[in-house]
């Protein structure tokens, strides 16, 4: 009969009304700043730079200023200036490092392509979303000091992915050490013959991450 649907609907909303007072399971929202819904494993929002230690983030940045991310970034929000000198990277190899590494987060669209293309596992996607500032020019343009976060933090926000990256880097580091040892041994064997063992072949470079997708 006409009108029964309306009564059914009213009963449903009445149930919602009563239930919302005693059944927290029903609630579709939480009181945000105090309660937060845990973010998903693959939630991503704005990139950050991974450093090996929290104590000396600038000295242990994994980034080697290769500028692939800068070229790949669709909205062009990354700006990198290479260093003139070199210092050892995560695997102990001598590499360049970024003197300036800026990301304009007002332009960034959090696509994650930078993290996907990085062959050194040095730029990863963050999970920070409370980024409101009072000045959109200085507040949203992040420099390398603001971007750098430790590997421990990376392990915290993305345990599975970080463990995989760490394992890969450990293998690479060991390979490099083995190589260095072998080179040192060869050098000791034929001391005057080869002058420079340091120019290691590309085998010691870390593999491009297959897990980034």
């Amino acid at each position: 009969m006409l009108g029964t649907g309306i009564i059914k609907g009213l009963a449903t909303t009445a149930k919602n009304f009563v239930g919302s007072f005693h059944d927290p399971e029903r609630m579709t929202t939480v009181e945000y700043p105090e309660q937060q819904i845990p973010l998903g494993e693959h939630y991503r929002n704005f990139p950050f730079l991974v450093s090996e230690t929290a104590e000396d983030p600038m000295g242990t940045l994994r980034c080697v200023a290769c500028q692939i991310c800068e070229k790949e970034c669709p909205p062009q929000c990354i700006y990198i200036v290479k260093s003139k000198d070199k210092k050892p990277d995560a695997t102990g190899k001598q590499q360049l490092y970024p003197v300036i590494f800026d990301i304009d987060t007002s332009v960034c669209m959090s696509c994650g392509i930078c993290a996907e293309v990085c062959p050194f596992d040095s730029i990863k996607m963050d999970k920070v979303f409370e980024i409101a500032t009072t000045n959109r020019y200085t507040g949203l343009l992040l420099d390398r000091e603001q971007l750098a976060k430790s590997n421990a933090y990376y392990n915290e926000i993305r345990p599975a992915e970080a463990a995989e990256v760490d394992g890969r880097l450990a293998v690479a580091r060991e390979a490099a050490e083995q190589k260095a040892k072998a080179a040192a041994a060869a050098k000791a064997a034929a001391a005057p013959a080869t002058p420079s063992p340091a120019s290691a072949p590309s085998a010691s470079a870390p593999q491009p991450s297959p897990a980034a997708s």
């Binding site: 649907g5 609630m27 009181e31």
Partner: protein, 410 residues
């Protein structure tokens, strides 16, 4: 105001005595003016605050109906940790509306654009003048109060038209057209649903209509009009038509936000927008008040042993209950399409209201029936409602559902 009966309780007389005490401070020549100014101020204050708390109640209730919490944060300035369940939200909203920039489109009809919110608020307030809020509380006693009420409310849709047309915006204009179509369709059932009450009580005065619903059946049952077959049918028709008249969901077609942005409100901002909002709630409150007066016994208590509570509190409680019911409906029902809206009015409500008119006539003609004839009277009257409802309703929904959706199971 009607004469104060000495036997009534102190609380019943308190508002009048307070007013008279204040009036007595003024010189003789000014007393009539002060008398009316006090009445106007009280109405504006009470219903202004009622409006404010209706908005927060609506938001909180709608939240609960949808398994949310609703606004609960706004506290007081300087007391950061005092939340008061968010009850100060309407005042924050008012400050926001007042401080917002008032934007008038370059192509708008400036005069009408300005006049529309003024007209809508002033006319929506007029209806409050004739509602009996309590045994002795009625601002203006008019012979033709019910007629006055509808005459006062008539111009609000005109204001919506003015707003929609003056904005020079296609959404606004569509809203104006819809508002007109809606008014033409629903003014008729609204008036037709009220006529039985006037026939039965044979008066147009709101206070007399309330008094006619006094007394107790068997000593304890209220004799409100809603407890008669024709009254119940009239009340339901009145409810639906009132929803449509005040542009409330599910009849909020003029400002259907998913289709028309905000309809006639699209080009309004700041305080003018707030005025429209206010007028909508004033209109709703006034129509609820009229519905209470006509069908729900006005300020009468529902049971004899509850009569110690002052009459104006009963009116207030009924008003709150009615508004809550409207909010409940808003949280439940979906918006109709314009063709469904007019079809409902002309194919369903108008015929039923006409039949109900005949039903009220039958009810009057059979007032002297008693004993078993009384049962027959009720039976015939109920049949006069239920049978047409069943058949017209079946015809209305013929071939229109229940729908089956290929992508969803029931």
């Amino acid at each position: 105001m009607s004469a104060v009966v000495a036997s009534e309780s102190f609380l019943e007389r308190a508002p009048l005595q307070l007013r008279d005490a204040v009036v007595a401070y003024f010189p003789e020549a000014l007393q009539w003016l002060v008398h009316h100014l006090i009445t106007i101020t009280v109405i504006l204050t009470v219903f202004g605050l009622f409006f404010a708390f209706t908005t927060i109640a609506e938001r909180k209730l709608l939240g609960r109906l949808q398994n949310r919490l609703g606004p609960n944060r706004t506290g007081l300035p300087f007391f950061k940790n005092l939340r008061l369940f968010g009850l100060t939200q309407p005042f924050a909203d008012a400050v926001k509306a007042l401080t917002k920039e008032d934007i008038v489109p370059a192509n708008a009809d400036k005069l009408l654009h300005f006049l529309a919110p003024v007209v809508v608020v002033s006319f929506s307030l007029l209806g409050f003048a004739v509602l009996p809020y309590g045994r002795n509380l009625i601002p203006v006693e008019l012979d033709a109060a019910v007629l006055y009420f509808f005459a006062a409310g008539a111009a609000t849709e005109l204001a919506i038209f003015m707003a929609g047309w003056a904005s020079r915006n296609k959404y606004s204009l569509l809203a104006a057209m819809r508002a007109l179509a809606q008014l033409i369709s629903y003014e008729l059932p609204l008036l037709l649903s009220v006529v039985p009450v006037i026939i039965v009580t044979s008066t147009l005065s709101t206070q007399d209509i309330v008094l006619a619903q006094g007394g107790w059946l068997f000593g304890f049952l209220p004799q409100w009009h809603v407890f008669t077959p024709w009254g119940l049918a009239g009340f339901l028709i009145f409810l639906v038509a009132a929803l449509a008249e005040t542009n409330r969901s599910p009849f909020d077609l003029p400002e259907a936000e998913s289709e028309l942005i905000a309809g006639h409100l699209t080009e309004y901002s700041g305080f003018k927008y707030a005025l429209f909002f206010m007028a909508e709630y004033f209109g709703l409150t006034a129509l609820c008040g009229l519905g209470i007066t006509l069908f729900l016994g006005g300020w009468q208590a529902p049971f004899p042993f509850l009569e110690f509570i002052p009459s104006y509190l009963w009116f207030g409680m009924k008003l709150v209950a009615m508004i809550m019911f409207f909010i409940w409906l808003r949280g439940t029902l979906l918006r109709l399409r314009i063709d469904q809206l007019t079809r409902l009015a002309w194919q369903f409500m108008v015929p039923l209201a006409l039949i109900n008119l005949g039903n009220a006539g039958f009810w009057i003609l059979t007032t002297d029936w008693s004993g078993p004839m009384q049962i027959l009277r009720w039976g015939v009257s109920i049949a006069l409602i239920v049978v047409p409802f069943f058949f017209i309703g079946r015809r209305l929904s013929l071939g229109r559902g229940p729908r089956t959706y290929s992508y969803a199971t029931s």
